[in-house]
Subunit: 201 residues, 2 copies
């Protein structure tokens, strides 16, 4: 698991600066997910972390760089999804991927950084660029690499569109009955769509 | 079509106050779609429309009410989509709905209010409530009313999720190759998914 949560058990003692870095990143994730990119300031992150703004700049640089660092580590669970593609038969990939992604969204601890990405990427070009680098380049290209069709990247993106759109309506905008529906009911309906995009005709 | 664009031809002459209202609404749509709900102010809208803030409050009330008025009229093309459900055989509804929605998004004039809704609804609870009233209550419930299944609303929302997610990745975040793909290629892949959600097993 991540350094933030796993550092107490069986790891060498960490330096104070690593603790400070983690505290800044945790504060940054919270600020970005609640306010979105535009309304979050380095000063606000520093205040929430109990440090001076100069220290935030010292460790990470610009606001964009803080955003990318905060989001990249926290999005790691979601970005690991491509292993699921190779991790079994191709005709079960829709179910594995959908179940995994909704697992990440259903868990409040891993939902927060995803909210930060979605909220920020739709309102700010800098954050959108980070989204494209992380999600499109790291996640979707790797999924596409497992598919043996010429339009593999487009297929991966349309599968992602069903997942992103469902997450937006359920977790962000909270449209009913989708927001309160049992997650298993949603997975049952969405998994075949993801499968169809990835391996259908 | 709407009063804003259609008033010059074959209509009775309008009052000056109707012109002012329209100018305020046009300015509001532009501000909300570029900045999102939170960063838009009544003062900024008034300035863009060349009027006093008091006049904006006089015609519309609060910022939330300006947002709802600006978005409701402009979203009318997208909200007319449910007629398409009844307007032909049920097994062609996926194609009709998908083609219509992408037509609205591909047209810069009608795209702007949709951008305003999406950008605002994901970052602000007031705007999310407007989204739920307009899109969920007006559009999705009416589509669901045409379907003869117990989970009709959930099906309509999952179809909307594919459309919303695709629009987000293509028009807002601009992920490639989806952003530059031919719209017909996207409709070919998305229409069967929408159809499946609405009338599949």
């Amino acid at each position: 698991m991540s350094d933030v949560t796993g550092r107490k058990r069986g790891r060498p003692p960490r330096t104070e600066s690593a603790d400070t870095r983690d505290r800044i990143l945790a504060a940054a994730r919270e600020e970005f997910s609640e306010r979105g990119y535009e309304k979050t300031s380095v000063r606000g992150i520093a205040k929430a972390a109990g440090v001076d703004s100069a220290l935030v700049h010292h460790y990470f640089g610009t606001k964009e760089q803080v955003f990318e660092a905060a989001v990249e580590i926290a999005a790691a669970p979601a970005l690991n999804a491509p292993d699921l593609v190779a991790d079994g038969p191709l005709d079960g990939v829709g179910e594995r991927l959908t179940r995994y992604i909704f697992g990440v969204w259903e868990n409040p601890a891993t939902r927060m950084p995803l909210l930060a990405i979605v909220r920020s990427a739709v309102t700010n070009e800098t954050a959108a660029a980070v989204f494209r680098r992380l999600v499109a380049a790291q996640l979707l290209r790797r999924i596409a690499a497992h598919l043996d069709t010429p339009d593999a990247e487009l297929r991966a993106e349309l599968a992602a569109a069903q997942l992103v759109g469902t997450a937006m309506l359920r977790y962000v905008i909270k449209v009913e009955p989708l927001a309160s529906a049992d997650v298993e009911q949603i997975i049952t309906r969405v998994a075949p769509v993801v499968q169809g995009h990835l391996s259908g005709p």
